[in-house]
Structure formats: C-alpha cells, structure tokens
Symmetry: C2
Subunit: 484 residues, 2 copies
Amino acid sequence: MPDRDEDSTEPVSVADIAGWDLEADVVVVGLGAAGACAVLGAVEAGAEVVALEAAGAGGGTSAMSGGLIYLGGGTPVQEACGFSDSVEDMFQFLMAASGPDPDRAKVRAYCDGSVDHYGWLVEVGVPFKAAFYPEPGLEPPNEDGLVYSGGEDAYPFDRLARPAPRAHKPQHRHAAGRFLMDRLLAAVATTTARVETDVRVMRLVVDTDDRVVGVVARQAGRDLHVGARRGVVLCAGGFVHNDEMVQRHSPLVARCSLRLGNDFDDGRAIRMAQALGAAVARMDAAEVAVPITPPRKLVTGILVNGQGQRFINEDTYYGRVGQEILFRQGGEAYLIVDEALYEVTRAGLGASWVAETVDELGAEIGLSAGALRSTLELYNRHAADGVDPMFHKAESFVRPLEGPLGAYDLRVTNPACFYATFTLGGLVTSTDGAVGHVDGRPISGLYAAGRTTSGVAAFGYASGISLGDATFFGRRAGRAAASS
Amino acid sequence: MPDRDEDSTEPVSVADIAGWDLEADVVVVGLGAAGACAVLGAVEAGAEVVALEAAGAGGGTSAMSGGLIYLGGGTPVQEACGFSDSVEDMFQFLMAASGPDPDRAKVRAYCDGSVDHYGWLVEVGVPFKAAFYPEPGLEPPNEDGLVYSGGEDAYPFDRLARPAPRAHKPQHRHAAGRFLMDRLLAAVATTTARVETDVRVMRLVVDTDDRVVGVVARQAGRDLHVGARRGVVLCAGGFVHNDEMVQRHSPLVARCSLRLGNDFDDGRAIRMAQALGAAVARMDAAEVAVPITPPRKLVTGILVNGQGQRFINEDTYYGRVGQEILFRQGGEAYLIVDEALYEVTRAGLGASWVAETVDELGAEIGLSAGALRSTLELYNRHAADGVDPMFHKAESFVRPLEGPLGAYDLRVTNPACFYATFTLGGLVTSTDGAVGHVDGRPISGLYAAGRTTSGVAAFGYASGISLGDATFFGRRAGRAAASS
C-alpha cells in the first residue's frame, strides 16, 4: 500500500482491517437533514443503522438555515391557503428555474413524490401551519407555513407554469432550520438507530469486488472501523469551506462575503467517493443570495450592472439576482431608488450614493457618461404607462423613478453587501441515491444525498430546494441502501 | 474483481496481466500536439518510448486546427516584426484573459519558458515566417507568422499589459494544423520512439502501490498490454464529443452548432484517471468562437443582447464574444450594422433583418419597444465624438451608425451561425504534467497534457493557447515521465 497520510481519502481494503468496532446494515455519514432522513428511511426499510456525525451533535448546515422546504403539487398547506398547485406546474417550474438542464429524472421523482413527502415529514414530527406569508424570499419571521421562494409568480416563470408558493416553513416563530433538525433528530432518537457524534469519517472500506462495506473514522484520536453490511450513505454536506475545491471548480464563490456552511462542509465525502472513481457533476454551480429585500418595496427600484444597464426583473427571487450578478454581470451591480423607496434593507444595506440628478448619480458611482440616464429614461418612459416591456416586472412595482436618487452598492467587492453562497455541485447519484462511477455503473454499496450530491438544483435555485432535496432523496437513499 | 464490461475505464491490477506485449520507459497515449511533444520530450530525456494513437495516423484534433501557437515574451518572430514583448506583459495578459483565476504556476512557467519553447519548436522542424498579418483572430490565410489572437490590443487587456501579437502560425499557405502535426510527427519519426496506430487505450494498469505501470489497449479487436517502466502520459484530447460528460459538466456546450474535435475527444483518458482518484478542474470551461469577423470592418457595428443592450467591445477577440454570448447573455445576440458596413462574414453569415429605421429593426428582431433605439442613441451620441465610453472600442471602429440598418442573427439557436466550441476542463496537473489525486498527492507514474488537462486557459481563451499549452506542457510531461 502507498503511504497514506492522515488526511488521505483513499479507500482501504477490508483485508487491511482487523475487524469492525461497530457494524450495522446501513452506515449513514453526516446527520444534517439528508442524513437524518437517510436514517429514518433505512430504519423504515428494516435496517439496523449506525449514523456517524463529525460534530458534537446532529444538525449540520441544515440547522443553520431558515428551514424552508420546497414542496408542492397540492400539499394540504397549499390547499388550505387557497393555492391550487399541480405536480405538472411544479415540474415545469423546476425544469425552468433549476437549470440549465437539471436532471430530469430527479426533478420528476421529486415532484411526483412531493405531496407524499409532505405527509411523511408531518408524520415524523415536522409540523406546518396552514398560513400564507405574503413577503416572498426570506423565511417568514413568524409561524406562517407557506411563502413564495423562487420567483414563481414573477417573470419569466409566471409564463411557464401556473404560479404557486411552495416553500413550506416548519411551524416555528424564528428561523426554523434548528427546529426542523431537532424534530428530525428526535424522530431518529425514537428508532433503533445508533448515533455516534464527534466521529469524523475519513475513508471508505472496500472488499475485493470494489463494493463499499464500511468506513474508517476518527473518534477521540483513534481509528474507528464501522462495517456496513448493506450500504454506506454519504450525507456530509458540500465543499464551500474547502478553498482548494472552490478554487478548482468555482473560483468566483471565493469572492462572496459569506460562505454558508459549517466547518465540515469541506467536500471530504465527495473526495472519498471520487477516490473510488465516482463521477461528479456541475461542480461550478453555487447558489448566491443577494437579499435586496425585504422591504419588498425596494423592487420598485431598478437594478443596473457596471454599464448602468438593467439586467433582470427586480421582483424575481434574490437568489437569482445574486447568481446573475456574480456569474454573469462580473460581480458588479447597483440598486437605484428614489426618495420614496429609500430604506435600509433587512440585511443592513443602505444607499452608498445619493444625488439630485441621474447624471450626478451615475458619475458618483463611476458609470460611463450618459449610461444611467439612458437606462432611466427608457425605463421611466414605459413606467409612466405602468409597464416594463424589457424585463416584465409586475405592474405593481413599476412607476417612474423621479427626483433625487440613491444607489445601493451591490458589488461583490463591497464587504457590507451580503453575498451568501454555498455549493450545489457534487456526486452523480440515481433517483435512489446510488452513487455513479465515471463508467456509468453504480458503485456497489455506496449512496449519497443532500449537498454531497448534484441534486434537483443543477444550478438555478429557489429557497427550500436544498432541504427539500436533502430530505426527499435522503430518505430514498436510506431505503435503497437498506434494500440492497 | 467486479464485472468489467468492454467500455470500463477502471484500472487493472498488474497481477491480473499475464505479461506485456510491449514495454518501454514511457508510454504516451495520443499523438496530437501534446502527445508528439511528450514523445520528443521523453526521448530527449533518454527514455525508450512507445506512443499509442487511436486513429490510423497521428494528428488528432490539433491537425484539424488553424495551427496557431501562443508564444511570446520576445520571440525572434515578434522582434523581427517590430513588436517589443516581455515575459511580464505576456504573464499579465494571460492572468487577465484566461481566467477567472487561472493556474498561476502554469501561466508563470508557460511565459517564462516561451522564448525557449519557440526555439525548440524551430529546432524540431516547425518553421515560422517573420511577417505580421494585420487582421486579428483567424489564422492568416497566407504564410505570415504572427497575428493578434486574443484581443491583446483591445479593451480591457490593452490597459492591463503592453499589447503584442503572440499567435505564431507555422509557415504554411493554408490552415497550419495539419502542417504543424506533419512536422512534429516527422520529428517523432526520426527518434527511437515506436508508434502504434489504431490502438485504443482502454484502461490503466497499476501495481500494488497504486503506481501506474502500463495500459491495456485494444488493437484489431484484441487486448494489447503495454508496460511503462517510468510513466504513462495521457495526451488524448478533451471530452467535447462525449454527450454525457458535456451534459454533466457544461450543458450549454451542447447547444453550439459545431463541436470542434475528433471522435476520440470522448474524455476517456480523463475518466481513466478519475477511476484512479484523479482530480479534475474547471470542467464547465469551454471556448466558444463566434466569428463575426473577418471582414474586420464589421466591428464598427454594435453587438446587442436579447434586451437590445450592448455587452462587450466589438473589437475584442471573437472567442471572448462567443463565450460571453453563450455563458452570460443567454445565447442571444445580434450584430447591428449600417449599409456602409454590410458584408457577408467569412464564416458565411449575412444580415437576417434589414429596416429603414431602428424602431422597425428592433421590432423585426423582436426586441422590446424602444430598447434598440435607446442603445443606438447613446452609442451614436458618443460615436459622433469618436469615443465609446461604455466599452472602450478603439476609436478607429467608432462612428455613428446611420440610415437603413441590418442585423445579423447570432443566436445559438440559429443553425446558420457558427458556434465553434471545445472543452477546456480536465485533469489537474502540476507544471511538469504530474496528474494530481483528489487528496493532493501526485498519482505515481501518471502524467497528462493538452486538452486532457485543465491548462493555461482556465476558462478565458486566446487562439493559439491550446497548441501552445499542448506543445509546452506535453514536452515537459514527457521529460518528467522519463525522469521519474
């Protein structure tokens, strides 16, 4: 065997293992939303399960989130709130919004199973209040259980599928990620599954047929060998905190002010699988949220790029706005408002420049001569008629911007501007969570879910897709591993 | 051992090989520009070499190219043509133009070694005529040996580094890719290296220390086992002709009308290394050429996107224009000209729409009301003074566009518009071509160069970088393998 330093992710041959310190049918690596649901799925399918969590307690990055879960096709919460949704509308929206070219089979399975998945979440202990919160984007600051989270009711998606709010917030007064995880972990605790914390999985163990049969972990400075009779499920997060991987796959992510994740989002699980020949997909993909709202009225302003040109309908999801600025507008944008709109955003950003005239404002920002005026004149001309023919912002947010103007500095180089990012790329998996080899075959005994994989959100995004994808495909991966 | 179907790229254990049909110090896989130079480098370093080419003869995709090689820092051709270049200017240009965030160590080595590399190419039989061809972009249609190929003399690069033309065309009347390869293959033929054609390398062979010690190939329907005492060098092209890999890593590439490559650009060498745990980088990267010139005068027109807005200085390299349209402008763009400019491009594209007024033209294209007029008014207002403050197009191409106007349809959905693409992502390698494992260590005995790797052009591009990178790092990889 070659020298294997402590940080190696290379697989270990079972012949080199003296024996198992622990053994189960299914070993789940990581206890965030995907891992907790993988445990529950595996137990449902009759498996004896061991779950290994690197931190001192389960929760992972899921527990740091707002807790929104993307569900639709006519959930009880949607119906009680008076929204008529269909599987097909949900499918059309996700195919358009989570691409380009999302994994059709995954989106299909996710939409077909969404109402059932809602029921399962409720059953395992996650409550939802049937109340609609009208301010889209961020999770509701109260117990309301339903909110628009992906620009479904704005251009262009409102033309492609019948809009419906689909982000379901577990019933909790504040950000619900921790609450969601408490409920899922409580459900795990009622099962026969054994949970080990402060255990860092380092390598996969393979038999002579290259089947994954266990893991080597570190616990309190010692190796722990954990055997998996049926399968290992990797649910260990993404790689936003691995500088080398970010640089290698999506260097613009490193320019964002806030990388969302915990220290264990270092891509180790992805690399452990790659060391076995696993395929990865869309490793450049990342969500980038630049919350220009709340307050919602700010979308009555206009977003312009470094040339003073508009580039998107301002009333779309701010996660699309952020991806657009970072990946397609050179990381440079400004929000232009007039006095009636001026307010500090909930994320704490105020106007960096104010001026009596548009030419003065453009000059203060440093835009080229006449550019901002040209943009504003065209916008205002149509806005006087209440329309936005260029980007189709909803009429309720369209009116001429007049008098003194202000500009918010949304450049990625502005440390005061919130650029919240996390990676979306990862392992290639089947709809049952089986990890694919670069040859196309599944890697025997190896499953994955959550941000360790490339999921429903191939690149585009809506709030709630990560927890939706993690819980839905986590459960499926657990079931599949148990049945293999 | 697991079932290994014919298409498997999984490594084979040397214990399962009865013996070598052929053996050498260094085995080079693929005989395009990278492979030919790897052979020459390995022979120079004293190695016995076998080269395996999948096609009936060497040449690969390099032989299908225009033959431009990106060289600078003061080559004899640059100096004879009166251009003063420096290593530092070349370095600054490439760091800015081939990113975001290209591999600094590779760019450094490439620039530091460029004049020497020119000398070596001449020595092995590649002639260059010291004549400057003034039309930038495409390779000269004559024997001229020097041309601008990356927008060095246009915004923004003209502000970041002293401009110099760096694309060197081997002295040949027509497209010089085949000529270049004939010369390199002739040089290979004068060495002791053994060349086997119609041999398709299927898998790598590893010893018990996971060192690569050979390959399994197919020749005339039978397995051929070729042992490598010192190293294997993968120079087998990119993956533009592998639909699944394109879909997985860079799906927009599939929308282009012309994928540049040969049938063997199927990413097999990348996958063979991945099956051993090799790391890949920037798999989303692709060059996309949309040749709006020649004739050069067309850059006096303006490029607009689907909102009728300008988005780039038209006088930049058309490889940047293509990347911008495909990746950042939703695959939609139009070139707007007036009657004085109208001409069919050398790539065969004429105007799809003509109209007496700008509003009529905008309506015919389907742009939103007033958008094109707003753009043209702003452009013309400054153009009357001979300036382009928004995108800094060179003054010689700036004048108001007046009278009847025409528009060229540059949408990626227009099959008549030439979108020529190839992948730039691939294996992570050191400056000596050593293939890196996802753990960070080099994979013992394994080297790579050319489009099988992520090279100098991390994402941005200039014509000549692929052959420059392939020849420069191909030779280094061959030398390093021979010395390992």
